[in-house]
Symmetry: C2
DNA sequence: AGGCGATTTCCACTGAGTGGAAGGCTTTCC
DNA sequence: GGAAAGCCTTCCACTCAGTGGAAATCGCCT
């Protein structure tokens, strides 16, 4: 007996499933990819071959595959990411100089936050997450800053999806989340203490573009020991203001 | 009469052709995409729809498509780009502080150079190229630095592809290219004056990784007026050395 | 040498993908 | 104001590109 009828996914979906297998940024063997994409090995073999022929995936000397330059080139030119990064870089750099901790620029992507850029000082806290990984909105400073200014339906979806607990301090109750977001809207600063990473806290502020809409957030992550030092909220606010201005935002009454 | 026989490209090739339409980082209408990818409109419509469903492309309010966050997330985690960027960032920053001009980190991709990162001063020269665009090896400082240390077959291919002239000063003769590359190998510094951009020159130095292989190059681009100032070669060399060390390179005899 | 896991090739079968055409919607121009 | 020009979406009869189980091959470890 041999092959026959089609599967239940289109070619495109299979290609994308293969791409998704690389979401973690790792190098994978063909078998790994087939397992993650839930595809037969022979199908994976052919499709991965096509990715590689194009240059989206490349094969290392040891036979493993990884994301190639072609995909990198395509991705870095994403207009939003590029515009925000260009506007923010100098301010992130100043913020880094001033604090020596991790400084980030993040945007909301669906029901998560993604770091667009990170700059880190020498002695900054150990951190897991990296540029390009998706983190939960309710358990990060940038997440709270962005969620506070997101359309109501995003809030509803986040609550509906469930407020996962990562550490004892994570916000898991809807009323508390609501209260915290109101506070963020009031003060213009979001703080998240040991909600996702043990021993770390983060302070974030929203960034607006020329239309006045909140499009990103800046944050600092530092060791809880430094919690309460006023320079963090101050620095983050100044950076956010600078980036907003660089994006063409003019505060109301100008 | 209605649709029928298959085209001459596989589904994957068509999807990639669509992706390539976005290589310039622009926003495109469906018709634009179909034209660039040389596909029938109805086919383009369906395939672009699949890209968008996955999140690789997104549709703006005005109906145009652009590269989406999903592709950005996949691309930024390209292992080589990430590793080099992380190692290089602080040195590029220092170099920017020291000179106030455009500073770059670049790698070779096939027969071209790609800027992995760029940091620019306030008053730097006007420049066309951006992070993610491919530039010719023979007409840029970084290109010469990388070509000087690339496998012989790359050199042969570059020569075979033809040394395109962009400005009067571009290297277009094989003997001259050979001579210049030998010079680069001797001095450890590559200089390219008004070869691609009018009024600008660039000074570059190769970066090595733990295996001793040249994997990237650092460069400064400034106005020809400043040609001859010794700080550029000096700064670029120091930065390249620092990045190499951060990548695990140990100079021979250690 | 032999076994195990990963990779590559083979091939009979079929429905997923194809693309020309027609219809709708919006903008521009006379 | 009408019609011409673009752009986008939907429809559908036709067919070959894609499928995936199985078998062959490779490469490493014991």
């Amino acid at each position: 007996m041999s092959g026959g009828g089609r599967g239940d996914r289109s070619v495109a979906e299979k290609l994308f499933a293969i791409a998704d297998a690389f979401a973690g940024g790792e190098e994978l063997t063909l078998t790994d990819i087939a397992r993650r994409a839930r595809l037969p090995l022979s199908t994976t073999h052919r499709l991965v071959g096509q990715w590689a022929e194009w240059g989206g995936l490349v094969r290392a000397d040891d036979g493993r595959y990884r994301v190639g330059m072609r995909l990198w080139r395509l991705g870095v030119r994403q207009p939003t990411a590029m515009r925000l990064r260009n506007a923010a870089m100098p301010y992130l750099e100043d913020l880094l100089d001033a604090t020596g901790e991790h400084v980030h620029l993040a945007v909301r992507d669906g029901l998560g936050v993604v770091y667009l850029e990170r700059r880190s000082g020498e002695h900054a806290v150990a951190m897991v997450s990296d540029v390009g990984t998706v983190l939960p909105l309710h358990a990060t400073g940038v997440g709270l800053a962005l969620l506070a200014h997101a359309p109501g339906e995003v809030y509803d979806d986040v609550v509906a999806a469930g407020l996962t607990r990562f550490l004892p301090n994570t916000i898991t109750e809807e009323p508390e989340l609501r209260r915290r977001l109101a506070e963020v809207r009031g003060t213009g600063i979001a703080t998240s203490v040991q909600a996702l990473t043990r021993g770390a806290f983060s302070v974030a502020a929203p960034v607006r573009d020329a239309t006045g809409e909140v499009v990103a957030a800046v944050s600092i992550i530092a060791h809880v020991e430094r919690l309460g030092e006023p320079q963090f909220a101050l620095g983050v606010r100044i950076a956010a203001r600078g980036i907003s201005a660089a994006l063409g935002y003019r505060p109301p009454g100008t």
